[in-house]
């Protein structure tokens, strides 16, 4: 293979690998500043800010490494991650992954939009990386139950190339092809999955 593979890999892998887990308690102690925006227990109540609860350990770690390296740009995140050590990053990954995942308890008022979103997700092969129930795995994000307007923002950032997502740039290539309509449908569908 190409190695092809991999960098962030296009789909950060679905495979098991011997990794050393971080320390959940130490991560919790370090996560105080995160709650200001990302909410108590990793459930965001702030617009355009993602929930982190139940995100895969490696996904959290990669994003922190990207923010720290400047590969992923966000003014608010930059100052927060600058001084994180590798150990802090491992612990934060373990902590957020240990929290019960976000749930969207509001009823789906636009089932027709969700149906279109499900169709788009199937057509774009989202589950190849994000898994069939969109819980994410390894370095691939959990999408089920995520904030709808954040998902729209994220997809638009991938579409414009502002965010590359990972080495293989899979998200940038997928999102480039999405219409605005598809983005709204996908975000609505995924936000209402539990």
């Amino acid at each position: 293979m190409s190695r092809l593979l991999a960098a962030l890999s296009f789909c950060f892998g679905l495979l098991a690998s011997p990794l050393f887990a971080g320390d959940i308690e130490a991560g919790k102690a370090k996560a105080g500043v995160c709650t200001i925006c990302h909410g108590e227990n990793g459930i965001s109540k702030m617009e355009y800010t993602p929930s982190l609860a139940g995100q895969p350990d490696l996904y959290i770690q990669w994003q922190l490494v990207f923010f720290r390296a400047g590969t992923r740009e966000n003014a608010n995140m930059r100052s927060v991650v600058e001084d994180l050590s590798n150990e802090d990053i491992r612990n934060l990954g373990a902590y957020f992954a240990s929290l019960p995942p976000m749930k969207n308890l509001k009823p789906d008022e636009k089932p027709e939009l969700s149906r279109k979103g499900a169709e788009a997700a199937a057509g774009r092969r989202c589950a190849s990386c994000h898994t069939d129930n969109f819980a994410g795995t390894k370095a691939t994000a959990r999408l089920a139950g995520q904030r709808e307007e954040y998902l729209i923002k994220a997809l638009n950032e991938f579409k414009s190339g502002q965010r590359s997502g990972g080495a293989m740039a899979a998200m940038a290539d997928v999102a480039y092809q999405l219409s605005e309509e598809e983005i709204y449908a996908l975000a609505h569908y995924l936000a209402h999955l539990n």
Binding site: R3, P18, F20, Q61, D173
Partner: protein
């Protein structure tokens, strides 16, 4: 009777699957409109996926530890590495996240590129301790770099950038100067490797932006680029994803590793070691793989005999990347001019293989090539990695350095009697 029945069932099944393949092939050809302008900026989103079978579902490039291996983990890893008698491995530097190609500065700085992280590092020695400094950030897949006449050259996906007087300016390399930019901007197989010849020209690989298909113009080739003038020529065609190569000290010819297509099976086709004997040779992609296997979809009537065969088939999904001829004096005499290859290891295979350093012995004309494992032990279980070798460079004292982009580390392998 039973066997006749079985045979006809098998024959039917083969005929049916052949029909399915050719139908899928027609669709596949239609789908990749690689002649379109848009293709140049945005390759197909499923470029790394294939026509995977049910049994292949779930095979994907594994995610490494984002923060690399800690020093304690590295200490445990190197205890598991097996080498021939007399050789020893140690950690040269850690915290070199996503480490890829390495190059020496004239004054002993080790420059290291990286994969998607976008960093370039400089490793220097201070009072016997290695210091790792990030000297460039935010580049696009700066896997390939080289050092020449005091300047550091880095590939930023579609630009070859020169940073003058680099070792004196590690704190601020500046913007650099783009010396060559006739390259596509997409990431898909767009990461590169640089190898200089005696004239100071670089060999630069251009991979196709998908697993298999009819390559768009100007890729699936290796070019030779003059960084002084920006002139370039095509030296090899029909090359899939090559991320390693070296000039033979015996002949001046360019040898290179090549990753074969995915999604055929665990054992086919084999990745390759090639040599360019004459300018413009065609190495077979996408029509023929491993020298003797026509592509089930894209052979399109071509015979393997039309193309230059590999010097050596290295094995399926071993992922050969960086390579070097051994020109040092430290290893035993029989290693002189042997080739060492860093195999990155599998992802598109149920049981991983590769992830080792291979030794290849071959005549200057590529004949009588044989291979053996030199350093092994980075695979754990069927699909686990402790590390993944990505590049090799020789140190002045004849020892060998190995970059590992999984562990984010550089190892040193040395020999003493």
């Amino acid at each position: 009777m039973t066997s006749v029945f079985t045979r006809s069932v098998v024959a039917c099944a083969i005929a049916l699957s052949a029909a399915a393949i050719s139908q899928a092939g027609a669709q596949g050809l239609k789908k990749y409109e690689s002649g379109s302008k848009e293709f140049w900026t945005n390759p197909p989103p499923d470029w790394f996926l294939g026509d995977e079978t049910e049994a292949q579902k779930g095979l994907a490039p594994p995610a490494g530890p984002p923060t690399g291996s800690s020093d304690a983990e590295l200490a445990a890893t190197i205890k598991k590495i097996k080498l021939p008698p007399g050789f020893k491995i140690e950690v040269y530097a850690s915290g070199v996240l996503a480490a890829r190609q390495m190059a020496w500065g004239d004054n002993g700085t080790l420059f290291v590129g990286s994969f998607g992280l976008g960093n370039v590092y400089a490793i220097t020695d201070k009072d016997g301790k290695k210091q790792v400094k990030t000297i460039l950030k935010g580049l696009k897949m700066p896997t390939g770099l080289a050092f020449q006449n005091g300047a550091l050259y880095v590939i930023d996906i579609d630009k070859l950038i020169r940073y003058d007087n680099a070792e004196a300016n590690l704190d601020n390399l500046g913007q650099g100067k783009v010396v060559y930019d006739d390259m596509p901007s997409y990431v898909a197989h767009g990461w590169k490797y640089l190898a200089a010849d005696k004239d100071g020209w670089f060999y630069v690989p251009f991979g196709p932006p998908f697993n298999i298909g009819i390559p768009p113009t100007s890729v699936s080739q290796i070019r030779r680029v003059d960084p002084k003038t920006g002139n370039a020529e095509i030296v090899a065609l029909g090359v899939r994803n090559s991320v390693g190569g070296d000039v033979d000290p015996r002949t001046g010819k360019y040898w290179f590793t090549e990753n074969a297509r995915d999604w055929i099976s665990d054992d086919m086709p084999s990745d390759k070691l090639n040599m360019i004997s004459k300018m413009g040779e065609h190495f077979g992609y996408p029509y023929c793989h491993q020298g003797d296997m026509p592509d089930p979809k894209f052979a399109m009537g071509h015979q393997c005999s039309e193309f230059t065969p590999p010097v050596l088939n290295l094995g399926a999904h071993v992922a050969p990347l960086g390579m070097k001829f051994y020109t040092g004096d430290q290893f035993p005499a029989e290693y002189k001019n042997n080739i060492f290859i860093a195999e990155h290891g599998s992802w598109n295979r149920h049981k991983y293989q590769g992830a080792l350093i291979k030794r290849v012995i071959a005549d200057p004309d590529g004949k009588n090539a044989k291979q053996e494992d030199f350093a092994t032990g980075w695979i754990e279980g069927d699909q686990g990695y402790l590390g993944r070798p990505a590049d090799i460079v020789l140190a002045k004292d004849g020892s060998m350095l190995v970059a590992d982009d999984w562990a984010g580390a550089i190892y040193r392998i040395s020999y003493s009697k």
